[in-house]
């Protein structure tokens, strides 16, 4: 019985379950059961799944779903780092109540880079909502995803749901360990990347370079502006937090032609939730990465004792 045990838990506990489904019917049955459990308890329910068809199927399956808030995950979660602040806002709006969240961040068409960040997002959900009264339910398309994705779901979810069977995950891993930089190495940048080392007084040059590549990549003025603000802010962070300057690399990612800007410096960002908290309570650097997450299709952040690498992705569709 999905989630039925939650009412017995202390109110400030995060619960995080993965549903493995093989067909559309299994998706609807399992997810609608979760939604109805939340509604029956009188709690607020938030559903973010990819595509209008899934939303409509759930809307008609969960009778009385008028009090459920639906969102298209391909929009709110295009950059998976936007999901935690999105859910946090919903939880804050319903403070004092347990909230129920259906989130399907991973689907078969996700790129390899997006997939890596989705897994890290799934791990960080456990960290971000520790101490929050929330039950999180993540449907996984077992038929469409490869075995590695299912193994990763075991690692990121303390509880697994398969049909009517609910059990603890035998593979659940510590979220901080899972998030750690060494687990998710970034592929090398291509040899054709343009390289620009930067110091103070080079921000203008960085912006010129980004704009030139944005035009080559066919980005419209709005998307180019977003990328420009994000790259400029990350480079400004380098100059504010390190003495050694940084290195910018720009390339277009085959086969999509998506533009990638990579900034490397010698700084260290220790907080795994940086860029995923609402900026009012965050430091200057966190606010910049939060903005980058809002403005870019994907942000890859790796930081360890050797330094920090941030890759910002932008494409025309937003």
């Amino acid at each position: 019985m999905t989630g039925s045990a939650t009412s017995a838990l202390p109110v400030d506990t995060v619960q995080h379950e993965a549903l493995f489904y093989r067909t559309a019917q299994e998706f609807v049955a399992g997810t609608a059961r979760f939604v109805r459990t939340g509604l029956d308890t009188g709690d607020p329910v938030l559903v973010a799944v990819p595509g209008g068809a899934k939303i409509e199927a759930l809307r008609s399956a969960a009778a009385g779903a008028g009090s459920v808030q639906f969102a298209d995950m391909t929009e709110v979660g295009r950059n998976p780092a936007r999901i935690i602040p999105f859910v946090r806002r919903f939880a804050d709006q319903h403070a004092g109540r347990r909230v129920w969240f259906v989130g399907e961040p991973i689907w078969p068409e996700r790129s390899a880079a997006e997939y890596r960040e989705c897994v890290r997002h799934e791990a960080l959900l456990n960290t971000a909502f520790a101490g929050t009264a929330i039950t999180i339910f993540c449907p996984y398309d077992v038929a469409g995803l490869d075995h590695g994705a299912i193994a990763d779901a075991w690692r990121t979810h303390p509880v697994l749901v398969d049909g009517l069977d609910t059990r603890p995950s035998p593979g659940y891993a510590d979220p901080a360990m899972l998030y750690a930089a060494d687990d998710w190495p970034l592929p090398d940048s291509p040899t054709g990347a343009e390289v620009l080392p930067y110091q103070h007084h080079d921000l203008h040059r960085i912006r010129e370079l980004v704009l030139r590549w944005a035009r080559l990549a066919g980005l419209g003025a709005d998307r180019a502006d977003d990328l420009l603000v994000a790259v400029n802010k990350v480079a400004t962070n380098t100059l504010a937090h390190t003495d050694a300057g940084g290195t910018l690399r720009i390339w277009r990612e085959p086969p999509t032609g998506r533009l990638v800007c990579e900034l490397r410096d010698t700084g260290r960002i220790a907080d795994p939730l940086v860029g995923r908290r609402l900026p009012a309570i965050d430091a200057e650097r966190g606010r910049g990465l939060w903005l980058a997450n809002q403005f870019c299709d994907l942000v890859e952040l790796r930081s360890n004792e050797h330094g920090t690498t941030v890759r910002l992705h932008a494409s025309q569709r937003s």
């Binding site: 007084h201 921000l203 709005d222 420009l228 400004t236 504010a240 606010r287 903005l291």
Partner: protein, 137 residues
């Protein structure tokens, strides 16, 4: 002062507060520790306010903050003409929001023709900032 938010479209560009580097093409950002060639800040001559031409970033934001603080603290709104603003970073947007917050009750900071990136940052980060008003796109 009667609030006249966005009535006058023509520039009120008067004097130039900060020297503009002239002569053989300087490399942008190289001129002076505060990027003198990147941003020109000019007072408006019929209203309280400034016209900004160029780019607000790490090098130039301190000059913007000083110019805002130096505006006469009279009643009425403060006008910023931003049609010539080619770039503004997060710290620049934050400086405008903070200045709007510092204005007293009933006073507004009116942004005329803000660039799209400034609209985006304000709508994301300071959507409810009292006194911060943008001209329609």
């Amino acid at each position: 002062m009667v609030p006249a938010p966005f009535g006058s479209q023509q520039s009120e560009h008067a004097g130039v507060l900060c020297s503009v580097v002239t002569g053989a093409e300087p490399r942008a950002g190289d001129a002076g520790p505060e990027g003198d060639d990147l941003l020109t800040i000019s007072p408006l001559n019929r209203r309280v306010g400034l016209r900004l031409d160029g780019e607000v970033d790490l090098l130039t934001v301190a000059r913007l903050e000083r110019a805002l603080r130096g505006l006469p603290g009279v009643d009425g709104d403060v006008h910023l003409e931003l049609a010539g603003l080619r770039f503004i970073d997060l710290s620049g947007a934050a400086a405008l929001a903070a200045f709007a917050a510092s204005l007293g009750q009933g006073r507004r900071l009116l942004l005329q023709d803000p660039p799209l990136m400034l609209r985006r940052m304000i709508s994301l980060l300071w959507p409810q900032q009292p006194g911060l008003t943008m001209s329609p796109p």
